[in-house]
Symmetry: C2
Subunit: 235 residues, 2 copies
């Protein structure tokens, strides 16, 4: 079977956690039962929110370099454990014939597994919210934090995770999630791959959340199973 | 700078943990400060202990395929978060001009940081012990479990980690480590990358241990720092 390609490094801790979930969520009795994968972990990709919201450097060339490398390594599909990078999904998918598993579709599948159809809270980078990546694809109404909460709690917490200060990210992230719950969210989608890392660093929240790292890992395992059976898209 | 190549998948959970340690041990304030890396995670590599001890399939061709892929991706050095695979170190290093960071040298550096010169306990696969990978390179006397302990506790615990049953691996591994300590080990070297995963799943041991995943991550960060300064071996 062809290997799964993982376009990562955005951030690198989220990519490592994706590889961990890909392993732990695979039914396996020995090494040889696990999903073969290549992780291109390039943390030098220009910041995605900076590019979209503040006119920073375009990340697309770096993203396409990663995709070319994963193609060259023989990967049969690509997963990208960074939500904000999906703002360039159309351009990336247009540049390769390998299917790119969309993280928002993976989150939607997770909500279906939870049986949730009502409004959900959406936590993500300011870039992800501004690009309406979830609002226009998830198929479920999204409640989002206000701009002040986004600037004072969510973005600083994401930066803490990227700076390896994971434990400190829990309190601000949990506060935002609880605020969304109080506004009527049936579940909260952790739509930035740094956020589940911060949320996992403290006591479990008292309502359902969707970990987009785990959701994308499950979608990837589904691809690998189909690939092994000779039925994967792109095979 | 060139990327770090990681020849992994042996097992995949240890590779994910290596990527996590590579990230957490790097002083970083943002994504762009982290070490760019490519992980070739191929869990299909034939079992290394089977090959050495029971005449199983030779893993060298699969290892060399991974090295070729990492070279093609432009990696400047290679780290292999699997101790037993180092039984093929000479053949792998002969096949590439990129330096392969030796995991036993990384463990020796960790012992120096701890100030330990006395005998150490050595836990590893039966293949690693039989090939005397540590005994002939570490520079410190190694106490090893007897064959019965190896067969009844160590190897089953390593298999549990590879099968995602990590928590169950703690008790047998802690028992073996304590037995080595009782025989006079100043520290215990966890010389199989599944073993620190099992040991981390329970209460901390009451004596120093060397986590060879973290040790190899630190050696890799050292390479990356030198590479960034234009002074890495192979640059």
């Amino acid at each position: 079977m062809r290997m799964l390609g993982v376009l990562g490094g955005m951030g690198p801790l989220a990519s490592a956690e994706f590889m961990r979930q890909l392993t732990l969520l695979t039914p396996a009795a020995r090494d040889q039962d696990h999903v073969p994968a290549v992780l291109w972990s390039d943390p030098r990709v220009p910041d995605r929110t900076e590019a979209r919201v503040h006119g920073g450097e375009d990340p697309l060339p770096a993203l396409l370099r990663g995709i070319r490398a994963l193609e060259a390594a023989g990967c049969g599909a690509i997963a990208i454990p960074c939500n904000t990078a999906h703002g360039w999904y159309a351009q990336m998918q247009a540049a390769t014939d390998r299917p790119i598993l969309h993280i928002v579709d993976a989150a939607a599948a997770a909500l279906r597994r939870l049986g949730i159809t009502g409004p959900v809270g959406l936590m993500g980078t300011t870039g992800t919210l501004a690009m309406r990546l979830y609002q226009e694809r998830l198929g479920v109404e999204c409640l989002t934090p206000d701009a002040e909460t986004q600037a004072s709690l969510v973005m600083p917490a994401v930066a803490l995770v990227k700076a390896n200060r994971v434990a400190e990210a829990y309190a601000p992230l949990a506060e935002v999630a609880r605020g969304l719950r109080a506004r009527g969210a049936a579940a909260v989608v952790l739509g930035c791959t740094e956020i589940p890392l911060g949320i996992a660093a403290g006591p479990e929240l008292e309502f359902p959340v969707v970990d987009t790292i785990a959701a994308l890992a499950l979608a990837s395992i589904g691809w690998a199973r189909a690939e092994l059976a000779g039925a994967a898209p792109g095979s």
